[in-house]
Amino acid sequence: MRQYEMMVILDPEVEERTVAPSLEKYLSVISAEGGSVDKVDIWGRRRMAYDIAKKSEGIYAVVDFTATSDTAKELDRQLGLNEAVLRTKILRTDAR
């Protein structure tokens, strides 16, 4: 088990109040594979420094979780397939 921190940029067309439940759904893979979600921080709509997928804004969220590396990889894969997710970044917080 390792500690991870993930940042996701969601499509700005997703409605603001549906963000939390849909994020929960994406993260269900963590608990299903024995990990745990420690913290979910939704930053909300934010202007991006450059356009991604022809969009100038994005909904940012930062998630801290503990899981195995396979789970983290699987989560990244699933989010990559998701149309509503513009970009993800998973970093290990216990490294360094």
């Binding site: 940029i9 420094a49 970009r87």
Partner: protein
């Protein structure tokens, strides 16, 4: 004989020390903006006055922040 002019470079105050930051986080864009030029380039160590290790942390943080569109790769100012 003219004496050769010896330049004593002024020691720069370490901006990380003054802000009391131990690990540089890519999400802290307000801090990272101090280490990039107005064109979005990472400032050199001789300009920023931080240690080698800190400069490395900063560079990595800026690059991570760029990937997540928190900082620009290049700003077309001018």
């Amino acid at each position: 004989m003219a004496k050769p002019v010896v330049r004593k470079p002024k020691k720069k105050s370490n901006p990380l020390k003054t802000a009391k930051i131990e690990t540089v986080d890519y999400k802290d864009t307000a801090l990272l903006r101090k280490f990039i030029s107005d064109r979005g380039k990472i400032r050199a160590r001789r300009v920023t006055g931080v240690s080698v290790q800190e400069q490395r942390q900063i560079a990595r943080a800026v690059k991570n922040a760029r990937e997540m569109a928190l900082l620009p790769y290049s700003s077309s100012a001018r």
